[in-house]
């Protein structure tokens, strides 16, 4: 980035540290605003985030890998606002990560143990991958210790534990039947600690960044749902924010891949979309920073339910989902509709009935008064005669 770009033209101010890495103040504030929006916080919060990020001592982060594919790390590496180098150099101090460590072997083991010792009770522990428990946990070993021993040793010393990805959240693909390694999620191992689950396969990197920034800015954990997931990211069903939802509501479904409905972008429910039973912000956050439609349903594949325990890796991909609706659709007609475009309604029939009733009553009254009049007339005529 040019030097001109790194100086705020309006104020002439420079943000120390960041600008040398090519981040203008404008870009930086854009990032803070985007993060505030992801967390569902008011935009005024962006200033607070900026202040925090600018001033706070970068929190040490230890990133442990267990049984997983490193997809979550890969997905984080490809985040562009901020990019990984800004994250690890400016926002956090990534003390240990098996993927990104320059060092190796005993050297890096030492770094890990030193960092844990120095920052006990202060570091953020990010776990990626499930922990095997069968046969003493021998299916995953790092530096001679099992994953089970590592997490039991380091986990309780962390200030906050984040389980990133479906594997760390509940076991993910390794825990699918018959689960030969006895894979379990971090929250099944560290039962006494509050764990923030960020499921997803891979988890959206922005949900991790937002969680870390939330913790840094407000010095507390974000509000979690019953499954330990931050509500700002996992508060709503995929179905609720899906761009294909209008087709569901109008009853237009793709019947098979490549058919007319599929080509026209109709709802994928019949193809097994798990959106109606999966809580995640995929439809609004998207993936890979490449613009609209960059998420499974957007590209024409049914949602797989990767963020939902008991759905992703458990239900067959093309099995139809159970539809949870928080409330029934507001636009649907009620049982009794007052306004219609023709024909009878119950309300209409009631009004007609009332009108008919009134007419009958009126008729009886008229008949009665006529009869009375008649009697009177007769009486007068009789009097006149006598």
């Amino acid at each position: 980035m040019s030097k001109k770009g790194s100086i705020d033209v309006m104020t002439g101010q420079r943000l120390t540290g960041l600008e040398q890495k090519g981040v203008s103040r404008r870009d930086f504030l854009k990032f803070c605003t985007a993060m505030a929006a992801t967390m569902g916080m008011p935009l005024s919060m962006a200033d607070l985030i900026a202040e925090t990020v600018g001033s706070a001592k970068r929190p040490p982060v230890i990133w442990l890998h267990f049984q997983e594919c490193t997809g979550c790390t890969e997905s984080l590496l490809r985040a562009t606002h901020p990019s990984i180098e800004h994250l690890i150099l400016d926002l956090i101090s990534l003390d240990y990560s098996e993927t990104l460590n320059a060092a190796a072997g005993h050297q890096v083991e030492e770094v890990l143990h030193n960092s844990v010792k120095e920052n006990e009770g202060k570091f953020i522990l990010v776990c990626e991958g499930s922990v095997p428990t069968n046969d003493g946990g021998i299916y995953c070993k790092i530096g001679g210790s099992t994953a089970l021993d590592i997490i039991k040793d380091i986990g309780p010393k962390a200030a906050a534990v984040v389980a990133i990805g479906s594997c760390a959240s509940w076991g993910g693909v390794q825990s699918a039947a018959p689960n030969p390694t006895g894979a379990k999620g971090i929250n099944q191992i560290l039962t006494d600690t509050t764990i923030i689950n960020l499921p997803g396969c891979p988890a959206s990197p922005y949900n991790l960044l937002s969680t870390i920034l939330y913790y840094l800015t407000l010095k507390k954990l974000p509000e979690l749902d019953a499954m330990g997931r931050p509500k700002f990211a996992y508060g709503r069903l995929v179905h609720e924010n899906c761009e294909r939802r209008p087709h569901f509501d109008a009853g237009r479904f793709a019947e098979e891949f490549g058919d007319d409905g599929h080509r026209q972008g109709w709802c994928l429910y019949k193809l097994g979309c798990k959106g109606p039973e999966t809580y995640a912000n995929c439809p609004i956050q998207l993936y890979g920073d490449v613009g609209s439609n960059a998420w499974p349903v957007g590209t024409g594949h049914p949602c797989f339910g990767c963020t939902e325990k008991g759905v992703g890796f458990t239900k067959p991909i093309h099995q139809q989902a159970t539809v949870f609706t928080v409330t029934p659709p507001a636009t649907y007609p009620d049982i009794v509709e007052e306004k219609t475009t023709g024909g009878w309604t119950i309300g209409g029939a009631a009004i007609a009935g009332a009108a008919a009733g009134a007419a009958v009553t009126a008729g009886i009254k008229v008949a009665k008064s006529l009869s009375e009049q008649e009697t009177k007339d007769n009486q007068t005529s009789e009097k006149e005669k006598s």
Partner: protein
């Protein structure tokens, strides 16, 4: 003229009593299930409210979309079919019952449920009974109630007679027709199934022989809530199954006995009256109205007695008047 109200009602009531008491033994029975009845089973606990059945219905019967408030709002036309009720372009409608917070499906209090409203195809249809020109025909074998536009005189008695408020009339047309579900009989004749059952993705609406559907409905009522059950999709004897937990049903098959029985039967976890379905006696309205009508007019005895009574009363009062003078 000196006919007293009192005298008039005396004679009238005498006539009515004679007519009704003497003939009630010959009441016309409610018609029974046709021999090869076909039908539809709608299970509200399986319905996800996707309205695919409405799309299927309109596709199979070539009915236009209904311009809606949503379209009004977005300033478009012809993209969104959203009729508010059954109407002259809509023979099949998904409606929603909501109570309180409407948080959970298939619950009466603070819950919600969908209901699919369409013609019940009664064993003894009131519409057919009321129709003076036999424009509504109950198929003697399969039992669906169809409409003959060439016979219809447009009196709309059927609309008033139907207790489910099903028949709709094309008021906006110069040569209007009546519109009601005819159970896609043109498709059934070709060996297909109804549009609603064909389109339904969950098995909430299934087509089949009525006896099979009734057996299936009874079986579902005996299932234990929470257990998994494989629900057929599209037809009652389909190979395509969808396994899901059983909800707690209301122990009643709506349409089994209502109005003498119907060929569109329903299961629900919410009381049927809450879904806008009327409580009905086990005999048809048609059997009662026809019994009354046919008794009153049987051999013209009723009218003759009534007329006779009136003649006598008139004569007597005239005579009295004459003597008075």
């Amino acid at each position: 003229m000196n006919l007293q109200r009192r005298d008039f009602f005396k004679v009238l009531s005498a006539g009515v009593i004679t007519a009704t008491t003497s003939r009630s033994a010959q009441a016309r029975p409610t018609f029974k299930q046709p021999p090869d009845a076909v039908g539809l089973l709608y299970d509200a606990t399986l319905c996800i409210g996707c309205k695919a059945c409405e799309v299927g219905c309109k596709t199979r019967n070539e009915k236009p979309n209904v311009h809606s408030e949503i379209e009004e709002y977005f300033g478009v036309s012809g993209v969104w079919d959203d009729s508010r009720d059954l109407d002259s372009a809509t023979m099949n409608k998904i409606k929603v019952y909501k109570n309180g917070t409407a948080a959970v499906k298939d619950r009466e209090i603070d819950g919600f449920s969908f209901v699919k409203r369409a013609c019940m195809h009664c064993f003894d249809p009131d519409c057919q009974s009321a129709c003076p020109t036999s424009a509504l025909i109950k198929d003697p074998v399969k039992g669906y109630v169809t409409y003959d536009k060439d016979a219809c005189c447009g009196c709309r008695y059927c609309q008033v007679a139907c207790q489910y408020l099903i028949p709709k009339f094309e008021y906006h047309k110069a040569l209007p027709e009546l519109v009601k579900c005819e159970m896609c009989n043109h498709i059934l004749e070709e060996g297909g199934i109804t549009g609603c059952a064909e389109w339904c993705p969950t098995g909430a609406t299934i087509y089949g022989k009525l006896d099979d559907l009734m057996a299936e409905a009874r079986k579902r009522l005996e299932l234990k809530p929470g257990d998994r059950y494989s629900f057929s999709v599209h037809t009652v004897d389909s190979d395509e199954k969808k396994s899901r937990p059983v909800e707690k049903y209301i122990d009643h098959i709506y349409g089994e006995k209502e109005g003498g029985g119907a060929q569109y039967i329903m299961l629900s976890a919410v009381p049927f009256q809450k879904l806008g379905l009327p409580e009905m006696p086990e005999t048809s309205g048609a059997s009662k109205s026809e019994t009354l009508q046919h008794t009153l007019y049987k051999g013209l005895i009723g009218p003759i007695i009534l007329l006779g009574g009136m003649v006598v009363a008139t004569y007597r009062s005239t005579k009295k008047h004459q003597t008075d003078e």
